[in-house]
Subunit: 206 residues, 4 copies
């Protein structure tokens, strides 16, 4: 059975990002996948110290920093898809989530060590919820980064909500968040496990 993890990056464990994630994971499970929820603020995550800038081969999984980021990355590795649900802090993800993303360089940079990003082919969905502007901006930032780490984004895989009214009183964002779970699971079930990036591709073209 395929597996999808949900990451709630809000300090509020029962806040709006968390609730929308629950709905999203519920919708995913209806497509026949296992799900697991992670509350990011329960994990200690130190800032990335950018070993990769010193020597590209220094950065590898597991990361040398001995906090709890590797635990989360273990869970990401076991899963086929990932849904990130985030509050919007200044039109972008909170620093705590950004720290996790920075640290995930250890997964992506395995390209330099083993020739393959450990995130390649994972399917990613993003939900961003704020009470002012910037929700699109935060969601698209996360999704774009993950594509350049090797992940895929399904149709309607980005949902965002930026209004003063609580998200769970708005039918439209509830539908969008649930559909993020649906489409991530649908795509996880459709995609075969292949080596997506072909490092020798130019030989077959020229």
């Amino acid at each position: 059975m395929k597996k999808i993890i949900g990451i709630n990056s809000s300090p509020r464990l029962k806040g709006q990002a968390s609730k929308l994630l629950d709905i999203s994971l519920k919708a995913a499970s209806l497509q026949g996948v296992k799900t697991e929820k992670i509350d990011l603020y329960l994990y200690r995550i130190e800032p990335c110290i950018g070993c990769v800038s010193r020597d590209q081969r220094l950065c590898r999984f597991p990361c040398v920093i001995k906090d709890e980021a590797n635990k989360i990355m273990d869970k990401i590795l076991e899963s086929d898809g990932m849904i990130i649900s985030t509050p919007v802090y200044w039109y972008s993800p909170p620093g705590h989530l950004k720290n996790l993303i920075d640290r995930m360089t250890a997964l992506e940079n395995m390209i330099e060590i083993e020739g393959r990003s450990l995130l390649e082919g994972k399917v990613v969905g993003v939900i961003a919820v704020g009470n002012d502007s910037g929700a699109y901006s935060a969601a698209s930032q996360i999704a774009s980064i993950l594509v350049t780490m090797g992940a895929a984004v399904p149709p309607w895989g980005i949902a965002f909500y930026a209004r003063p009214e609580p998200a769970d009183s708005n039918k439209s964002i509830l539908e969008d968040a649930a559909n993020v779970g649906r489409v991530v699971a649908k795509m996880v079930n459709m995609l075969q496990k292949i080596e997506w990036y072909d490092p020798d591709i130019l030989n077959s073209i020229f």
Copy 2:
């Protein structure tokens, strides 16, 4: 046979965006799909006049503006995937490409008319090439917009290059651009035609 169209949004018909697109389409065709290239600057595309803000049901395909945008949208509709290769004008797509994207609201807004975006399930890849900074910014902007119109982005579906040296002297961007074609075609071949967004999803959850 599945089909992928490539859109060169550079005024230079044989410039770098165009060459990278050629390589990308070549790589796509090696995966067993038909390809077609469109030079956007050969088409007259007027600015969107935002009918949708007046009345959400006014905006539908074909667009009421009688220029050549509908011709391109016809080609998009016939295809299963799309690769957009663009120069970088001020860290973002040129206004001419943005005009096309704005006009593609006529495809996306069929949600309001027929319950379904005409772009749903199409696979999109983006290549951005500049001689200064901003290539990531341009590429991610295009990809994110298209996801929120209903398209999917495959692993490594975004490539960007921002250096003063010509792109075709840089092996890494040639590989990245070729792989954009490969992964768009791979994903086009893997994805089934389904209705991705379920408007009644909440009924199955609550």
Copy 3:
């Protein structure tokens, strides 16, 4: 007397972007500056053809394309500040406005011809108004581009509004838009005319 021009980049000449701009220009005039309003959709603006990529010295003001962009650029040159009020099309400025910005390379690129951007020291404010998400994203994109062309942005010089209710029923965005006019005018009155960028600066440092 200093002068500020306002650019309404909405096709709706009496729509929300236009109304907020009127209020903003009114607030500016209360600071003792002249104002003028331009409706961008009344001007024909062709796409930039990127001469600068062929030869950096080819792009200069007035632009070689014989449409009405030079007229607007004439007005920008006569002014000390500029307020751009825009609707949000897919989280970013409409292609028509982006075409103007692309064409304004002819003003910025005078660095290569005469050693000085013709936009240097102008003060810029931005108002973005949409009925969905993306208003911050559109506003910040415009402001950031203009800073890298040589313009300054005053405190609170960016205002954005992204809600389904009409902007003119929302006191907060009316205040923000008015303050954009106020701060642009305040800063125009405070800034001296100097050469901001010193091309020989390294000589005084090392």
Copy 4:
């Protein structure tokens, strides 16, 4: 004498972001201002816990979290301008810097407590340096956020560099970084201390 602080947000205390910042602060000091440099990675900064979402009046300076963020905010408060020099982690500021920015909500949100953001009227410059794409994206994100907190950005106040070669071997980025210091200091010297945002502005307009 006016004062400008420089924040190096790289874990490398003598890396490229740090060196460019030194040059920038040197150029600032030549304009007759005091300068002070802060190495952000020497400070412990916990993630923001978003009190403001629970009750808008809970978030105020000094922040309730008892780490070293308040020390940095003290230094920001004493200064008239700020130059942030940052490495680029995934096209955006490192999580550690984002955590500081999130925590600076305590300064901005004094609007709700005392009617005035404590960052209002401060002048901000940004330098972003990476060895791949995304430097513009990181720099503009930081600058835009700070404008919406009440800061101003001078002409040429954003500099970015994204190439594999070391920044200090590139004359153009050295000039740009030095000019960031120059223009921030120039603007600090020109701007008067005023209340920029007028909360009663509509009374004078309607």
